[in-house]
Symmetry: C2
Subunit: 92 residues, 2 copies
């Protein structure tokens, strides 16, 4: 069954307190090469049947309206993973 | 500056209450093609300087020990994005 992966990240202009905490922890552990960590969300949608343009349009609308808050977050990618062929196709 | 993306998902055997809620919402909205939604995390690590094997080993350790709880979560991918070439390289 194909899987659609939707990825949402906090907008670059906004402070990400969760990521800030992780960045601080890394630096306290002695890491100096990682300058910033930002933490977002990854949605895996399991699809019954084939992925067509209609479904992708529906998923794009869900991504914008339901999976992300457009005031503070950006949908960074929508990818279709097909386990039968092992392929990953960028859909947005 | 290169970015390392670490992706963490709840283990397949575990119930994901957040994803379950979204699946229920999609079905109430009339969607019948998406059978399951699972929600995980996406970490974007901004790296100063080049990404070498030492840093990747360090990031793999952080991913296992700090970014994920191995009792309930799996690290599903570690990818290096290089903005100068636009390439994405799977590193785990």
């Amino acid at each position: 069954m194909p899987t659609i992966v939707v990825e949402v990240m906090p907008k670059a202009v906004l402070l990400d307190p969760q990521g800030k905490a992780v960045t601080g922890a890394l630096h306290r552990l002695g890491n100096t090469t990682i300058s910033e960590v930002r933490i977002g969300k990854r949605f895996e949608l399991t699809v019954e049947g084939p992925v067509d343009e209609t479904l992708l349009a529906e998923v794009r609308a869900y991504a914008d309206d339901m999976f992300s808050n457009s005031v503070i977050e950006d949908v960074v990618s929508i990818t279709v993973l097909d386990p039968s062929t092992g392929s990953a196709t960028e859909a947005a």
